[in-house]
Amino acid sequence: MTRLVLALGLVFLWAPVALLAGFAFSDARQPFLWGGFSLRWFQALARNERLLEAAFLSLSVAAGAATLAVLAGGVLGWVLARQGRFAGRPLFGALAAAPLVLPEVVTGLSLLLLFVVLEQFTGWPQGRGVATVLLAHASLGAAYVGVLVQARLAALGRVLEDAAADLGASPLAIFRTVTLPLILPSLAGGWGLAFLLSLDDVVLASFTGGPGATTLPVLLFSQLRMGPTPEANALAFILLAVAVPLGGLFCWWRGGK
């Protein structure tokens, strides 16, 4: 019985993905008709510079946003877990976690307003573009990284840092030799999470993006209105071919620990 449920669950999760990958090799023009085996959409993809550019932009923005998110979120989590009871800490904690619960439309709109107002008063950012999308994704990712790091530090407790201090380590040495190595798994996991959040985000990118900042999800979404082509399937297949082994490797590594 449990095996049946498990099998159904897996089919539910993976059947659409398998279909999508299968239709990448279809000769038909519609991405949901089978027209015989063909690699033509991979060839078309290789010539479709808009799609490839969007994919490259998405990967770059995701990597940049994830890196910024780890830096900001790491500091955020550390402050929340280690700086004790400062004035306004509960409020600060709630504000820091807000992006996790706010609807993305609200976050997107508020970020757009922020960027517009900032431009009026400081002249920066000049219009919306890659930088504003990257900052929007970084701010969302930072909230997630912050929660991960805070939870890890809370679970570890202070006793290891106390022991290091007792053994003569300066605050900087404690951070470098004890705190940082112990939160490294959370930072790595947080980086991956922020990377994925950025890679599949349409809403924030639509609000804060502009001409020249069309990320892959935004482009695919806009193509949907004109009827998608199996080029998108081909691209999705390539992304899957990279992502699934990476995910498997990560699970194997976590399982080994």
Partner: protein, 310 residues
């Protein structure tokens, strides 16, 4: 004096933890702070180590005032109840940690320390690959690495199996003698404190209630709390005063008639509960053979066995 504490006060929020504690530990002395949880014994260690600041009072180690000094700058070392070994470092690197921070790393010194605690050959392991007793030894080697004049031990045996505890306690005592380090050990286990220490200090409600050599405190408890906390005690009221009387000081064959209510075999002795003719219940320890339940016995004790309580 290895450690001098004078008039220490500390409260956490509204809860007083220490209410005027003064204590002196001589060079090479083994002192146990004994009390129930919440008695303030662990707070004393944390204040001496520098993890908390006292509200009032003075702490001096080796004659140097510690006021305002962070844990890094204090000459004492601490062994934590959970051992607090760094899980991402090998045993060797754990022991070397303090030496490296001081720029005194010496692989030979680390090996020597591991030999001292009987852990030679384990240097490459991770803490998670060791048993509780082995982790305890590594924590001890790490704390001793920089030859601190004063070692603070927070319930060092509490996490061990009962069988390991006695042997490990004896080992602690041997290392303390060999290194000449002053030990201040915190425990709630009276047997541990009695067995290991040169002096025991009893704490109750953030105050020291009695201190002295274990045998002396055991034989002459100053208060009812001390008498009942250290082993079993009968409390007698005579002439308006309370006295403590140890069960092993009562002998069978005296002048006081009594009846045996119950008896328990303790291995090396029997513990009897006896109802005396004047209506008191006394606990009596006897090596045996023990009278049966319901039997009539005669009890007696020397006048010197009565310890007056305040």
């Amino acid at each position: 004096m290895s450690l001098l504490v004078e008039g220490l006060f500390k409260r956490f929020g509204d809860v007083p933890a220490l209410e005027g504690v003064s204590l002196a530990v001589a060079q090479g002395e083994f002192v146990s702070l004994l009390g129930r949880s919440g008695s303030g014994k662990s707070t004393i260690l944390r204040l001496v180590a520098g993890f908390e600041a006292p509200d009032a009072g003075r702490i001096a180690i080796e004659g140097r005032d510690m006021a305002g000094l962070p844990p890094q700058a204090r000459p004492c070392a601490m062994m934590f109840q959970s051992y607090a070994l760094f899980p991402h470092l090998s045993v060797h690197e754990n022991v070397a940690y303090g030496l490296r921070r001081a720029g005194q790393y010496d692989a030979g010194r680390v090996e020597e320390l591991l030999r001292l605690v009987g852990m030679a050959g384990y240097g490459a392991r991770r803490p998670a690959q060791l048993s509780g007793g082995q982790q305890q030894r590594v924590a001890l080697a790490r704390a001793l690495a920089r030859r601190p004049p004063l070692l603070l031990l927070d319930e060092p045996l509490a996490a061990l199996d009962a069988g390991l505890r006695a042997a490990t306690g004896a080992e602690l005592r041997r290392l303390q003698r060999e290194t000449g380090t002053s030990f201040v050990l915190v425990t709630h286990d009276q047997a541990e404190a009695l067995a290991l220490s040169d002096r025991i200090v009893l704490l109750e409600g953030g105050r020291i209630v009695q201190q002295g050599p274990p045998a002396e405190v055991y034989a002459r408890p100053a208060t009812r709390f001390v008498a009942e906390f250290l082993g079993a005690a009968n409390i007698l009221t005579e002439g308006g005063r309370e006295y403590a009387l140890r069960p092993e000081d009562i002998r069978l064959g005296g002048e006081l008639p009594a009846q045996v209510l119950s008896r328990q075999f303790r291995g090396e002795s029997w513990m009897l509960e006896c109802l005396t003719g004047d209506g008191r219940v006394l606990r009596v320890s006897t090596p045996g053979p023990a009278p049966m339940e319901g039997n009539a016995v005669m009890l007696g004790w020397p006048a010197t066995a009565l310890a007056p309580l305040s």
